[in-house]
């Protein structure tokens, strides 16, 4: 009897099935390296959160400015407000700050469509 599993060459895995080329070592390698998978995964999650913060800094500079302006006033927050204003101006000049209002405008137009 022919082993049918040998009759088919291994199919190329789709994007979602492929193993990532993550910089983090795989669990077994991590253990060999003297650390364990939970610590690796915690670092992975922390990096992911930092990337998410960076995305917000790029595309939601208006929100950051509003958040900083709401903080209680003191010397530190005054500096933060100046920095947030400068950052928002830069993002407006470079373009990312314009994306969210444009998407929002289209969304609102679609949201207000009547029957």
């Amino acid at each position: 009897m022919v082993d049918e599993t040998l009759a088919y060459p291994e199919r190329k895995k789709s994007f979602w099935q492929r193993r990532s080329r993550s910089l983090q070592p795989a669990p077994a390698q991590a253990r060999e390296a003297g650390t364990d998978d939970s610590a690796v995964q915690a670092r992975r999650a922390a990096v992911a959160m930092l990337v998410a913060f960076a995305l917000f800094a790029l595309f939601d500079s208006r929100g950051i400015r509003a958040f900083v302006r709401d903080l209680p006033g003191n010397a530190v927050t005054d500096t933060l407000v100046t920095a947030a204003d400068g950052w928002h101006t830069l993002m407006q000049r470079l373009g990312p700050a314009a994306l969210a209002p444009a998407v929002r405008e289209r969304f609102d137009r679609w949201r207000e469509v009547k029957w």
């Binding site: 979602w16 939970s38 959160m49 929100g63 958040f67």
Partner: protein
């Protein structure tokens, strides 16, 4: 501190880094999490920190007293007194104003006008949920299901752990406390599941629940007599979806945040709007609260006696009635609870009769066993039809009862129904977008229950930067299309 805010994002990131940095030292990690939880709660109103700490200290002492007592009668008295004290504090905050108002009305009616002691009592956020956790701890210690906690830090953290402190899920001590002493673990799948749950919760709260509330439910319920029938019909469906999305969103974010910190919480909502019976609905709706009511209220009413006959129906009814009354001292909540109590009792009665009829029929038949074997099993089409009818009845009972739940007073609810069933007027507030939100949210309930887990399994090997793009992109999209500012969660008021 609300979940969908930059404050919480920064707070959570700091706690996350600190918690995993302190992973090797369980006691330092617990102290840090306790401090973070008290900071989280005190951010709203620091004055209520004393209440949270007092409740935890009282339950800690009561647990030790239960452990140190041998006589069954005395143990029962300690447990009953401690539970009564917990519920007394909850009742004081929830019902004081109602009792004073009622007493004033009564004295006026009797011509005995008196100046009542007026106190503007503010309901501390999350008081119901941390009280329920305290009660479950005491009853479990009394029943011998768990040992009393020796470390005060453990119990204080159990009562105040920030992801579930304000609106649940109600975590049981037997499930939570063992996790404190184990070294926390974070798998690849847990990271992705945590992020997906947070994204899902944010989408449900800031997009679905918000727009349904702001554009349809709130304006219609504010003046039902001025709304058209179509808008009233849409708003009563919309409110059921809004409450589901709002309440389950908090649980999703809480479970996701806890997962990222290395804690495992059980699922709290399991597609309740697709339930085909009321029993099933309550097994899927805020599972930790439903099981709490079953284990600590229904079982207390039942006692040691066999659960059958009229006692069973009475206990089901009383459990739902008290569950309704817990939401507030208002007839609307009483009627809401009564509708569910009667519905559940009726469902049990009909199911019991149907089962008795089906099992008795072969015995009455002269052919006996042969007839039993020949008894027709429902075809898939019949089973599907029965499930469809069950869903239709259950869903509408839930949405119609929700009108009482949402209305400020009984008269407003009756006006709502009268105007709705007049069948006059077309859509004024209902837009295709709002219709899509309601229909989409209900349709999603019929998909597989483990969609997030399956998606997490597929994305578990994504590199950190791609995971960050997924999380940040998702949150950014939700933030962009969401409202300016965030409304508090519906269940904060309970």
């Amino acid at each position: 501190m609300l979940f969908p805010t930059p404050q919480f994002a920064l707070f959570f990131f700091a706690v996350f880094v600190a918690a995993w940095s302190l992973r090797a030292s369980a006691s330092a990690r617990k102290l840090m999490l306790l401090g973070a939880s008290y900071f989280f709660y005190g951010y709203w109103d620091w004055r209520f920190l004393a209440l949270l700490a007092g409740s935890s200290a009282f339950n800690y002492a009561a647990g030790l007293a239960l452990a140190g007592t041998r006589g069954e009668r005395l143990r029962y008295r300690i447990m009953a007194t401690a539970v009564a004290a917990n519920l007394g504090v909850l009742g004081l905050f929830k019902y004081y104003n109602f009792f004073i108002d009622s007493l004033t009305d009564l004295t006026l009616a009797l011509g005995l006008q008196r100046d009542m002691p007026f106190l503007e009592i503010v309901l501390p956020i999350g008081i119901s949920f941390f009280t329920f956790q305290g009660v479950s701890y005491l009853v479990d210690v009394y029943r011998g299901h768990i040992r009393p906690v020796r470390s005060p830090v453990d119990l204080f953290l159990y009562i105040s752990f920030f992801p579930q402190l304000v609106a649940g899920p109600i975590v049981r001590a037997a499930h939570f406390l063992p996790q404190l002493d184990k070294e926390p673990e974070l798998s690849r799948g847990a990271v992705v599941t945590g992020f997906l749950l947070i994204l899902n919760g944010m989408l449900k709260k800031t997009v679905v629940a918000h727009y349904l509330a702001a554009d349809l439910v709130d304006p219609v319920f504010a003046a039902p007599e001025q709304a058209s029938s179509v808008d009233l019909i849409a708003a009563h469906y919309g409110y059921a979806v809004q409450v589901y999305c709002d309440f389950s969103a908090y649980s999703d974010i809480a479970i996701g945040a806890a997962a990222l910190l290395g804690f495992r919480f059980r699922k709290n909502f399991d597609r309740p709007l697709a339930a085909t019976s009321l029993t099933q609905l309550w097994q899927r709706w805020h599972i930790s609260l439903s099981t709490w009511l079953r284990d600590y209220l229904y079982r207390a009413l039942r006692g040691d006696k066999r659960d059958a006959g009229w006692r069973m129906y009475r206990n089901i009814f009383l459990t739902m009635l008290l569950g309704g009354l817990w939401h507030g001292a208002n007839w609307t909540f009483v009627i809401w609870g009564a509708i569910h109590g009667v519905g559940l009792g009726l469902e049990r009665f009909i199911k019991g009769r149907w089962h008795a009829w089906r099992t008795a029929r072969p015995r009455l038949n002269a052919l006996g066993a042969a007839a039993a074997a020949a008894q027709p099993t429902p075809t898939p089409a019949v089973a599907l039809f029965a499930a469809g009818m069950g869903w239709l009845v259950t869903f509408h009972l839930f949405t119609l009862a929700a009108v009482f739940f949402r209305s400020p007073e009984l008269e407003a609810a009756f006006t709502y129904f009268a105007t709705m069933f007049a069948f006059e007027g077309g859509p004024r507030l209902l837009t295709p977008f709002l219709f899509a939100l309601v229909a989409g949210a209900v349709a999603v309930q019929f998909l597989s229950g483990n969609g997030i887990e399956r998606l997490a399994e597929r994305a578990r090997d994504l590199p950190a930067w791609m995971l960050g793009l997924m999380l940040g992109g998702g949150l950014l999209a939700i933030q962009t299309i969401g409202p300016q500012g965030v409304a508090p969660f519906v269940y904060f008021q309970f």
